[in-house]
Symmetry: C2
């Protein structure tokens, strides 16, 4: 080994400069820890900390009370018969696809699906057919189209798809499609239905049984105030033997989980934040109010929200010809928006974006929202400054 000490210096002081900033990144807002989780970090941060009293199965650990959390609390919370902890929503989707489908089978998913849904299918060696969105400006999924696409797969291959996936909401526009109608279609066709709730589970009340979903995945780091990577997976009991089949040689170990998953601080923060999360999902109407208010105010500045309007989620996609034009004239070019917001203590919009970007107002105070609106108000004025 020839690693120089000088190379190692930077790893000794890894500070997160954005820690105290207002972070608008949708994938960060729902993962901010509750105070209950934050206060126990030191105790549980070591390696495999939750395994002090493990008998061989993560989900059967009684101290800390993982067993009760996984087998009593989580199924109730998700509206499923059974549940497990995963290393993330994507790992949950891969688990389901890998367990229930055969190589070459089809998965039907919405065009707004997260990239990881597609990649979970690729890793499972499955084919994907998309249900298209409505295009500009709302990019909505008409779930009635699922029937059509399921039929197309059947006609092409002679087999129904192995799985239908719906993203609720999607991570680009924050649209909430009619999951109940999608569930009805899947039931009629007898095709298993997976709901990707990475941006809903932990933010809003959501019950898989309302939608007749066979599977639901959620993301601890995205929406359940947990330290990543961690996710949850709920399912109907009829799939228990398929999803959680045990090893032939190690009788208590679940194959698709590789024995155990989130074995450390991640599951502790998920549990410690859960009482807070369980309370906050009851007040999602307040988040919608804030999002709509923000959308209206920023719309007045020439920054227009796309996706469903009025909007029903805190994740929003915007377009702005005005910001794009400023970037054409500004000395920092397309990085001006990122730079100007940062000056105001605001981050989370990807550096370089001006014409189209997404953000979330989730769990921001009214005061913080006002600060962000004001910052955009100042930024659009740069149009005049540059014109001088």
């Amino acid at each position: 080994m020839k690693i120089q000490n000088s190379q190692l210096e930077k790893f000794k002081n890894l500070h997160r400069k954005s820690f105290k900033f207002i972070n608008l990144d949708p994938l960060q807002r729902g993962g901010i820890l509750s105070k209950e989780a934050r206060k126990i970090l030191d105790e549980w941060a070591d390696g495999y900390s939750v395994c002090d009293y493990c008998g061989g199965c993560l989900d059967k650990i009684k101290n800390p009370p993982i067993e009760e959390f996984v087998h009593e609390i989580l199924p109730e919370f998700l509206g499923t018969d059974i549940a497990r902890i995963t290393n993330g929503a994507r790992e949950g989707k891969f688990l389901v696809m890998h367990a229930i489908a055969k190589e070459g089978d089809y998965v039907v998913m919405d065009q707004n699906a997260h990239y990881s849904s597609y990649i979970a299918a690729e890793r499972s060696r499955l084919k994907v057919k998309f249900v298209p969105n409505s295009g500009y400006p709302e990019f909505k999924i008409n779930v009635d189209d699922y029937a059509k696409v399921i039929d197309e797969v059947k006609n092409k291959t002679g087999k129904f798809p192995a799985l239908v996936l719906l993203t609720y909401p999607d991570g680009s526009y924050g649209n909430l499609p009619d999951a109940k109608a999608a569930g009805k279609i899947c039931k009629d066709y007898n095709v298993p239905f997976l709901l990707n709730g990475a941006y809903s589970v932990g933010r809003m009340e959501i019950n898989a049984s309302d939608f007749n979903a066979d599977f639901i995945v959620g993301s601890g780091h995205k929406s359940m105030a947990a330290s990543g990577p961690i996710g949850v997976l709920g399912a109907k009991k009829i799939y228990e033997e398929i999803l959680f089949r045990k090893s032939e040689r190690y009788k208590i170990k679940e194959i698709e989980q590789l024995g155990c998953t989130a074995r450390g601080l991640t599951v502790i923060t998920l549990m410690a934040s859960f009482p807070h999360v369980y309370e906050r999902v009851k007040h999602y109407d307040e988040e919608i109010r804030k999002a709509r208010y923000f959308s209206e105010k920023i719309g007045n500045l020439g920054i227009n929200q796309l996706g469903e309007k009025p909007h029903n989620h805190d994740l929003m996609f915007f377009e702005s010809q005005k910001l794009f034009e400023i970037s054409q004239k500004h000395k920092q070019g397309r990085f001006f928006l990122y730079s100007e917001l940062k000056k105001q203590g605001i981050i989370g919009i990807k550096p370089g974006l001006t014409k189209n970007f997404k953000l979330s107002t989730y769990a921001l105070s009214d005061e913080e929202i006002k600060k962000v609106i004001d910052a955009f108000g100042e930024i659009v004025k740069l149009d005049q400054l540059c014109a001088k």
Copy 2:
């Protein structure tokens, strides 16, 4: 949802009672955080914290310096051409098997392999053939037997195994087999060779190229002073396209990694602890000295170390007829050992074990080792007390 508030109370105060105990559990000792990692927990514990400045690939993030860590530091540390972060050693093993083998192929592994090696093969729908150990009392792997078992697979199936795996050391006895000779055999047969270094990478100096290993996996939470779950994977460059094949649709996303893996505090603690880990591996001779000292002293009490002797690793397996006999007479039965050690502030031997158990002396001070030896000294005296 009908979760009662009373059910949630226990999640609001999740304390780790064993936090200040001497923890002898081999899977805990190498995962205790460095002080550099511990001091930055608060800043990085939120959800997806490392993704503030992500352009779409975890291993390409420049701030924090994940890119440099993954692509410069780790390959040098592991002795490989390329490296990645995984969600754990088992996830690395599954990744390799899933990527390089076809359903029904064989993996040849040592009988001392960790259960997750077998399960990774099961999840990949592969068959397993074991190289036996030598049995009681040393349970050694004679790596020359790999040639024999590879031939058996070839004779039976007409094909060479898709992969050979060797556990270095194993997690039961802490034996260090002749990995170099195993690598030579694999090279002669032209079969890819995976070294499972979950208990070596981060504890001792280990260089995959010394063994001609095509792949090596390590565990952040087991042996690299990182918060779990996290692991590392190193490989020869010739496997880059197979292991890290990109998505057809999302050109920068690696399929077998599902896009990204350890996206949060886990990778930060791995990096923050790395300078400490890089230093500590140079002093593993000191750990061997302590382990041998402990083995000798506790042997004098009638608690005998199995596995290789003299021992070359901190993970040791013991048997004791004497402790077993006490358990037969003690009012707490087989839980007496656990209970008596706990009274002395020592945990980590599985509750209920007396005749056979494993432990590790890794990173214990001489004073702590003396305390553990003294505790066992008191415990074996219970033999006389019970006899009265």
